[in-house]
């Protein structure tokens, strides 16, 4: 809300310079973004939080400043020149739905001269960003900005039967509002109707037909109090937000209604002439009395950490319009003013005290939590995995969770969680797979000629369970493409392939206490057939990885081989970290032997390895394939495999004979697979 400093000065003696004023307002909770000179005035841009509708006016802000600067606040007093018949003789007001309208005050100003406003009025409104319309509209607008109470001026002769009825709209009733929009009303909307039809959306906007025009002779001024929730609902359902609805939905001041009305009538008379009829109409079916609150001194100390002097509390609360009455040594009985609907509990009063004591003047102390001993194991696991991935060259990315449902559907067969009000169609579903986001991330880089990319993403996938409740799963996604390392004088470039990913996964799982890590070739609808694998432990799937299918790769414009792995973190994090335990290593020398084997093509390495492992010989410490080749002396449909085996005993130096024996057993167990030593 824009606040004019000159205007403020009508109510409180502000002597500090505008910059200081800006800072002072901020420090009592009226965050002031800027202060700018406008002519001979300064205008402050004050951000008023939703709980403080009373500060959506110059008078409200002046009240805060008067309390802060310990200055008196000028009272608003109006001395009207009334004449003619009583208002109630010229018009009638009926509240048909008193649950939505607690009070309705009305006055009539006859024989007004609608025309341009005088300069001072135009200037004042324009300084705070309001456009001048005509003298009558400007007067109501002026009172709105001054006292914060929304008013409406009707052309009295456009109101059929000179009647005002405040009621719920009948379904389908039409109303063209001041903004020229034809609206169809629903039962939820509260309207001001005349004898026949709605003439205004209560608390939101007037109707075009009863608008003040140059031909208007008599004005009916409305100053009412509408129920906040109803105004909010009406405005929302019509997609409207006005100065009036902004204030009513936050809670206007019931007691301000008659005063604002008199102030506006007086002002209209001053700028547009006319006669104010005697005695306002004031329909106030059930005057509300607000509950007094108890404010305990002990509670102030318990919350703020310091005692506040009796007089200081009273000064602050009274300055802000509260009435206080001491209750022995305990504290006060406090009556909140009608304009402070936000104050309904003791804690609200404590906040008022804190604000005006000044947060900067309240004490401070550092408060650590009591000592605790439990460890955050999940965090340790995530930290272990992420540091390994960084060491392996992966850059962590954070990908959007909201995706295009059509794209999502190609990577997951579960029902996605859909957004009811998405920002756009291509961000209208919560992703059920993290693969497309990874492909998009890689594509972004390939499109920019950044071709060596290794990414990891710790994120979630979202789906609906069969019962229709949303479910979130933690997933880790890896993506790799390009070269393993940049070319250098020391080494040639190598292109990342399936086995890089397989190896990285193995390394990544190393910190976990997996009883066994099994690999099997697998298939998956979006990975290339024969380029997809799965890692499991005890039947629990930990990772699926592969190369995206060619047609997908084309679609994502992946011009080079890309490899993607999905790791199920929910499963992985269930495994504990590998306990550290030392096992004594052998003191005796190890013997390394290479076996040049001929292997039928149908026998995968895993079967060889399983057979060797099946021997369960302690002396076969290690075995790994070190070369694989074809052709030469190797028969067709066979390949050569050089298997490097390390023999070592825990108890003695192996003799040649023992190594020979072990070699024989090793060859023997491979024989049934058709694997034989190269001749």
């Amino acid at each position: 809300m824009k606040i004019s400093v000159n205007w403020l000065k009508e109510f409180v003696d502000v002597t500090s310079d505008p910059r200081q004023l800006k800072s002072d307002l901020t420090m009592i909770g009226l965050n002031t973004e800027s202060c700018a000179p406008v002519g001979d005035d300064w205008v402050l841009d004050v951000e008023v939080t939703t709980n403080r509708p009373d500060c959506l006016s110059h008078y409200g802000v002046a009240r805060e400043l008067a309390t802060l600067y310990r200055q008196p606040l000028q009272r608003v007093e109006v001395f009207l020149k009334e004449s003619g018949e009583p208002t109630s003789a010229a018009a009638t007001v009926e509240i048909a739905d008193p649950d939505l309208c607690a009070r309705y005050c009305g006055r009539i100003v006859q024989k007004v001269q609608v025309g341009p406003s005088p300069d001072w009025l135009v200037k004042r409104l324009e300084a705070i960003g309001q456009r001048s319309i005509n003298n009558v509209a400007d007067a109501t607008n002026y009172v709105l900005m001054e006292l914060g109470h929304p008013l409406h001026a009707f052309d009295l002769f456009r109101l059929r039967q000179h009647k005002i009825i405040v009621r719920r709209a009948n379904p389908g009733e039409p109303l063209r509002t001041l903004d020229g929009v034809d609206r169809t009303l629903t039962r939820d909307s509260l309207v001001i109707a005349d004898g026949e039809r709605p003439v205004a959306l209560a608390g939101v906007m007037g109707g075009e037909e009863s608008e003040i025009s140059s031909r208007t002779g008599s004005v009916l001024l409305e100053s009412a109090w509408f129920e906040p929730v109803s105004v909010r609902r009406t405005a929302k359902s019509q997609g409207m937000h006005t100065e009036a609805s902004h204030r009513f939905e936050r809670g206007a001041d019931l007691e301000m209604a008659p005063l604002a009305l008199d102030r506006a009538a007086d002002l209209i008379q001053k700028v547009a002439g006319g006669e104010i009829l005697r005695k306002m109409i004031d329909v106030y079916p059930r005057p509300e009395s607000r509950k007094d609150l108890l404010l305990r001194r002990s509670e102030i100390a318990r919350i703020l950490g310091t005692e506040v002097a009796w007089e200081e509390v009273e000064r602050i609360l009274c300055g802000l319009g509260f009435q206080t009455e001491r209750q022995g040594t305990e504290g006060w009985r406090v009556s909140p003013p009608s304009f402070r609907l936000d104050v309904s509990r003791e804690i609200d009063l404590i906040e008022e005290v804190a604000r005006h004591v000044g947060y900067d003047r309240l004490p401070a102390r550092v408060r650590p939590a009591p000592p605790r001993v439990e460890r955050d194991i999940t965090r340790e696991k995530i930290m272990a995995v992420s540091s390994l991935l960084v060491g392996l060259g992966y850059h962590e990315i954070i990908a959007p969770a909201m995706v295009d449902p059509a794209e999502n559907q190609r990577f997951a067969d579960c029902a996605p969680v859909m957004l009811a009000n998405p920002l756009s169609q291509d961000a209208s579903a919560m992703r059920s797979s993290a693969v497309p986001s990874m492909l998009r991330a890689i594509r972004w880089n390939l499109d920019r000629d950044l071709r060596d990319v290794k990414f990891c993403e710790f994120g979630k996938t979202y789906s609906l369970t069969t019962e229709g409740t949303p479910e979130e799963r933690r997933v880790l996604t890896l993506g790799a493409t390009g070269h393993r390392r940049p070319a250098s004088v020391h080494d040639s470039e190598k292109v990342v392939d399936f086995f890089d990913l397989k190896g990285d996964l193995g390394t990544m799982f190393a910190p976990f206490d997996l009883p066994k890590l099994d690999f099997e070739p697998s298939s998956c609808p979006y990975y290339e057939e024969g380029c997809c694998g799965r890692l499991t432990s005890q039947g629990i799937a930990l990772a699926v990885f592969g190369q995206p299918r060619q047609d997908l790769a084309r679609e994502y414009k992946l011009r080079q081989a890309v490899w993607v792995a999905e790791i199920d973190l929910e499963h992985l994090l269930n495994f504990s970290l590998r306990p550290r335990q030392f096992r004594p290593f052998s003191k005796f020398p190890a013997v390394e032997r290479d076996f040049s084997l001929v292997v039928p093509d149908g026998v995968p390495y895993a079967r060889l390895a399983a057979a060797v492992a099946g021997l369960d010989l302690e002396e076969i410490r290690r075995h790994r394939p070190v070369d694989r080749f074809r052709g030469g002396a190797i028969a067709a449909q066979h390949h050569g495999l050089l298997l490097r085996v390390t023999f070592q005993s825990q108890t003695h130096t192996l003799t040649s004979e023992e190594v020979g024996g072990l070699s024989q057993r090793l060859l023997a167990v491979l024989e049934p697979l058709g694997v034989r030593l190269r001749g």
Binding site: T26, I28, G29, N31, T49, T50, N51, V229, R233, L304, G305, I347, D348, I350, E351, Y359, L362, A364, V366, R367, P368, A369, P370, P371, D376, S386, L389, V390, G391, G393, H395, E396, A399, P400, A401, V417, L419, N421, L423, M430, W444, N445, R448, F458, K460, P470, E472, P486, S488, V489, D491, S492, D594, V626, L642, S656, E657, G660, S663, Q664
Partner: protein, 390 residues
């Protein structure tokens, strides 16, 4: 004593060439042929193993080839020299022709060994590059250049938001706080109602919400975990809650629909506003440097009362006023406040017995501020040129 066949098999070539044919139990021409076959196989295997092992430079290739050649062909103690000595010279007359013939064959094969190794395998990897580096060999030739870059394996990186998050977490972990987690798809009850933000109040408009349906939203802040944690653990409670949040914000240089927040919550029997001020001041100084000042100003959040905003003296201009702090000298860094008694009550904690403070901050903004990132979109573009800087 004649060794068994198995024993013979288990002997390495090096062991065998030190024995005579008789000691090896070879007594006929077929035995000789088999023995020499074994030797050739071993030679072939060593060659192929060398080939498969490969070399990273011409120098290494030469060195490997040389060692293979020396092993087999050296006049002194080479394998062939040993075979000549032990097998041929000492062989019984009747076997001499066949041993001689086999030995010649072996020699020819061995002569080709060097060539073979060079051409067929080793060295094909980098045929053109001049490279480092065998100290002894190259030092003399003057090719050794220690100023060449080291052999490096490129490191990855953690996302700047993750790094920022961990830094913040660590400060609170040091203070004894625990990390708590909660769902991103959240009920309206936890996201709003339980936090004292009724549907009917305009304060709900302060959060531009993405809805799944009337009862379910993408959480607009990490605050719902406050209630969940209160229900789960009761008081006392000292936690921080990092996580993703979502708002109906169109993306621009300072907004993304998805962002990261860290929420803090401390509830105990004697917590006051002083603890909030002191602890958050401590935190800000640990994160932004001991020189900064903090400023607490009143604000409004439905779930705290009294509510506040924390500003720090501008870390760019030191409070003089600059573009970043909009000439104010202050940068707002978080919202905070004393937990509203209604919220404690909603979480099952007696507000007359316990009090608490809470804060919420935007991790993305912190990362941007600390790492001098000018556009929030950069955080989520996954551009490797951006990521590798962290």
């Amino acid at each position: 004593m004649r060794p068994s066949r198995t024993q013979t098999l288990a002997m390495t070539i090096d062991e065998k060439v030190r024995k005579t044919l008789a000691e090896l139990g070879v007594t006929d021409a077929a035995g000789v042929e088999a023995l020499f076959g074994e030797v050739r196989a071993a030679m072939e295997q060593e060659r192929s193993s060398l080939v498969s092992h490969g070399a990273s430079s011409e120098a290494e290739r030469d060195r490997l080839s040389k060692s293979l050649r020396d092993r087999w062909l050296a006049r002194q103690n080479g394998l062939l020299a040993n075979i000549d000595e032990r097998w041929l010279k000492t062989s019984p007359k009747e076997l001499k022709p066949s041993v001689g013939k086999s030995f010649n064959g072996l020699r020819q094969a061995a002569a080709a060994l060097e060539m073979d190794a060079l051409v067929k395998g080793v060295g094909l990897k980098i045929p053109t590059k001049v490279a480092a580096v065998d100290a002894a060999e190259i030092r003399g030739a003057g090719l050794r250049d220690l100023t060449l870059p080291g052999y490096c394996r490129p490191l990855g990186s953690l996302h700047p938001v993750t790094q920022m998050q961990r830094e913040i977490e660590q400060i609170f972990l040091n203070l004894g706080f625990r990390i708590e987690d909660g769902p991103e798809i959240e009920s309206v009850y936890y996201n709003f109602d339980a936090l004292n933000i009724p549907e009917s109040h305009p304060s709900r408009d302060d959060w531009d919400t993405l809805y799944i349906n009337a009862q379910t939203v993408l959480r607009t802040h990490t605050s719902p975990v406050q209630i969940r944690a209160m229900e789960k653990y009761g008081a006392p409670l000292y936690i921080i809650i990092p996580g993703k949040c979502y708002r109906h914000d169109n993306p621009d240089a300072s907004h993304t629909p998805m962002f990261h927040q860290i929420e803090g919550l401390a509830i105990d029997s004697d917590i006051t506003f002083a603890d909030l001020k002191g602890t958050l001041d401590f935190f800000a100084k640990k994160l932004f440097g001991e020189k900064i000042h903090t400023r607490f100003q009143p604000s409004f959040f439905p779930f705290t009362e009294p509510s506040g905003e924390v500003a720090i003296s501008c870390i760019f201009c030191g409070g003089e006023g600059c573009r970043v702090c909009k000439e104010s000298g202050w940068i707002e860094v978080m919202g905070c406040g004393m937990v509203h008694p209604q919220v404690l009550h909603n979480g099952g904690i007696d507000p007359e017995k316990y009090s608490g403070w809470a804060f919420g901050l935007g991790v993305d903004r912190y990362a941007m501020m600390k790492y001098d990132i000018n556009d929030i979109q950069l955080l989520f573009q996954s551009d490797v040129r951006f990521l590798e800087q962290f």
